[in-house]
């Protein structure tokens, strides 16, 4: 690679070329900046997500409790992986929940057989979902476009049916049907020893939580969350590397013009299959982590709604961008858990300052959009984003950034990806 000829490219003086040369951890400055932001956000999440004092009326908007924070990063992993397939190659899988489910079951099985250390379970989740993705991808990728989507959907629904009933009978009970797979006291747990009787990593229990009270604020630091957060940061880093690699470029070429790619001597099939398997492994890892946080795996994780959810996350955040899927996952999980908790009496409390008639009228208008109706708000938001910001939240962020620094040079970190997405419309 060091065979420098006497020929020096004119373009060597161009800025992008220089930026490409000095790298940190193999990332360009811009990408490293993005990684730093992700690290800071995840590490400080217990503070950032808990801005309201716990005795205030706004406290219900706090999302800084372990259970929800775990979900943010786990579904972030799921969406990062999904984006490798959908964002780069344009192949829209409607069956990725199958891999999430397979990962969950694998992890619980390791709890049952080996013991409560989460490491073997998480590793097995990645391996099994990868193999499963290889099988499903190999068949589904014989078609493209809508037919590919339908094939993946069909496979996922078959997996759901298998998990829900077929693979759960007295003679061969792999999934424990509608009860869900869980650990029982008579399970072998060969390597359990006298470790904690709940998921742990080398003795540190996942549910271990330190609470830091500052005045009326209670910040919670949960072991499980930090494990998931570290895993997500690694996943994010690997996905950035992949995006900027020759492999990532080939995947974008698949999306852009598969015909040209084939007539350029490149076999598109193994590229898409590799992307499918990698994204399946991300999904399996996310599933494994779900079980590691709560050792119970149910078939509903494979439902088509779960497959659809990751599609929404990716598109909402910005498909094909680096950080978009993480934002999308956080956004949707926040809505699902926070907006859905607002009930009628909360609304009455908010509008109590208004005259009674007006109060009732406002509550009547707002109520369908919160609580059980949170899907309605999410749907509206999704429509607005798709119509006005086809590059997702990332594009929105970039637009705002450009407005703020109109007279300064340089674009947002993800201009390229968002612009590319728009060009692809």
């Amino acid at each position: 690679m060091t065979d420098q000829t006497d020929y020096t490219p004119v373009a060597a003086q161009l800025p992008s070329r220089r930026a490409a040369r000095d790298t940190i951890l193999g990332l360009t400055r811009k990408d490293f900046g993005l990684l730093t932001v992700v690290i800071a956000l995840t590490m400080l999440a217990p503070f950032l997500l808990n801005p309201f004092p716990s005795n205030s009326a706004m406290a219900q908007f706090n999302a800084g409790y372990p259970d929800l924070m775990q979900r943010f990063v786990i579904f972030g992993i799921f969406a990062i992986g999904f984006n490798i397939l959908f964002g780069l190659t344009g192949y829209l899988s409607f069956g990725h929940a199958a891999f999430l489910g397979v990962g969950s079951y694998s992890c619980v099985w390791m709890f049952k057989l080996l013991g409560y250390n989460v490491l073997p379970g998480i590793l097995l989740a990645i391996v099994v979902s990868g193999l499963f993705a290889l099988l499903i991808g190999y068949i589904s990728l014989r078609r493209s476009g809508i037919y590919f989507s339908i094939l993946t959907l069909a496979f996922a629904q078959m997996s759901f049916a298998l998990a829900y009933s077929v693979l759960s009978n007295p003679s061969f009970n792999l999934t424990n049907g509608e009860t869900g797979l869980q650990v029982y006291t008579n399970d072998p747990q060969w390597l359990q020893g006298d470790g904690p009787r709940a998921p742990h990593i080398f003795g540190l229990a996942m549910r271990e939580t330190e609470t830091l009270s500052v005045g009326a604020w209670n910040f919670q630091f949960n072991a499980g969350y930090y494990l998931c957060a570290v895993v997500m940061i690694i996943c994010f880093y690997l996905s950035v590397r992949l995006f900027r690699s020759p492999f990532g470029m080939m995947l974008r070429a698949v999306k852009s013009n598969q015909q040209r790619l084939n007539y350029t001597g490149v076999n598109a099939r193994p590229y898409t299959l590799a992307a499918f398997v990698i994204s399946g492994m991300y999904a399996g890892l996310a599933g494994g982590l779900l079980s590691a946080m709560d050792p119970l795996a149910g078939a509903e994780r494979m439902q088509w709604t779960a497959s659809g959810e990751v599609v929404l996350m990716t598109i909402l955040g910005g498909a094909g961008t680096l950080i978009g899927p993480v934002l999308g996952a956080g956004f949707i999980k926040y809505f699902e858990n926070i907006f859905s908790k607002i009930n009628e009496s909360t609304l009455h409390a908010w509008f109590a300052f208004l005259p009674d008639g007006l109060e009732d009228a406002l509550v009547a208008i707002v109520y369908p959009f919160v609580g059980k109706g949170w899907h309605l708000t999410l749907g509206l938001l999704f429509m607005l984003v798709v119509i006005f910001l086809p590059g997702g939240l990332v594009q929105g962020g970039n637009k705002m950034a450009t407005i703020f620094r109109r007279d300064r040079k340089g674009g947002g970190v993800e201009d390229d990806a968002a612009a590319q997405r728009q060009a692809g419309e």
């Binding site: 000829t5 490409a20 193999g26 020759p246």
Partner: protein, 252 residues
């Protein structure tokens, strides 16, 4: 024995005989033009050479090896690159990235799982791609989205991408179709430059007689799916059968 040998090739679409009994031999390092009226089967013939279509009868061999039954990417890896009638490029990628893909395909083959290596730090590939762009006078467009270029530039880029693979046989399907005179002349100059600067065989389908007579060393005239004559440009110009079947048509 030419580098490309087409023997008794026939192709039907339903009841339509798009090609029947086509024989063609393209000599190594020559420029061979295939001309003929619209619907003569020129594109169909080209598609049979690159694996897009499989002929019903006959054989196609490149450098002594049959190409039939091979996938497009395999045929390409044998050394045949193709330029399409409407430019086929990677519209969402930058011009430089467009150039890098054929360079990667040449070095790493049909599939390589380099998911951890930084693409822009692959000096060998970046340099080769930039060198090629300079050669084509497109280096100033390296950061542009390929889709936003003019049609002439897209065509130029597509030809450059094909050349980056250092093919032994370059196939062009009406490279100047829909181009203005100036662009057409640029393309002629470009193809002359290509032919003079490296050992390469070029087979070109063309409608524009000006292009054909400025470039070709041999010409095959195709009409209704069968070769009418094959000869040098000078002889083709005066050939009565050709005037009748083809040139006569375009002269009014």
């Amino acid at each position: 024995m030419g580098i490309l040998e087409v023997k008794n090739v026939g192709k039907r679409f339903g009841g339509l005989h798009a090609l029947s009994d086509v024989n063609l031999s393209v000599a190594e390092n020559s420029v061979h033009a295939i001309i003929g009226p619209n619907g003569a089967g020129k594109s169909t013939l080209l598609n049979c050479l690159v694996g897009k279509l499989i002929p019903d009868t006959g054989s196609v061999s490149f450098d002594g090896q049959s190409v039939l039954g091979r996938k497009p990417h395999e045929i390409n890896q044998m050394g045949i690159s193709r330029v399409f009638q409407t430019p086929e490029i990677f519209g969402d990628l930058t011009v430089l990235e467009n150039m890098m893909i054929p360079c990667l395909a040449r070095r790493d083959g049909a599939f390589a799982l380099h998911g951890y290596r930084a693409m822009m730090r692959d000096r060998e590939i970046v340099d080769r791609a930039e060198h090629m762009l300079e050669d084509m006078h497109m280096i100033d467009k390296r950061g542009m989205h390929a889709a936003s270029m003019s049609r002439g530039d897209k065509r130029r880029l597509e030809i450059a991408m094909c050349l980056a693979q250092q093919p032994r046989l370059l196939l062009l399907d009406e490279p100047t179709a829909g181009m203005a005179r100036a662009d057409t002349n640029n393309t002629i100059e470009l193809l002359k430059h290509i032919k003079d600067s490296r050992p390469i065989t070029i087979a070109i389908i063309e409608h524009d007689m000006h292009v054909v007579f400025s470039l070709a060393e041999r010409i095959t005239v195709l009409a209704q799916g069968t070769p009418l004559v094959e000869d040098t440009p000078d002889n083709i110009k005066g050939h009565p059968k050709v005037r009748e079947a083809y040139l006569g048509e375009t002269e009014h």
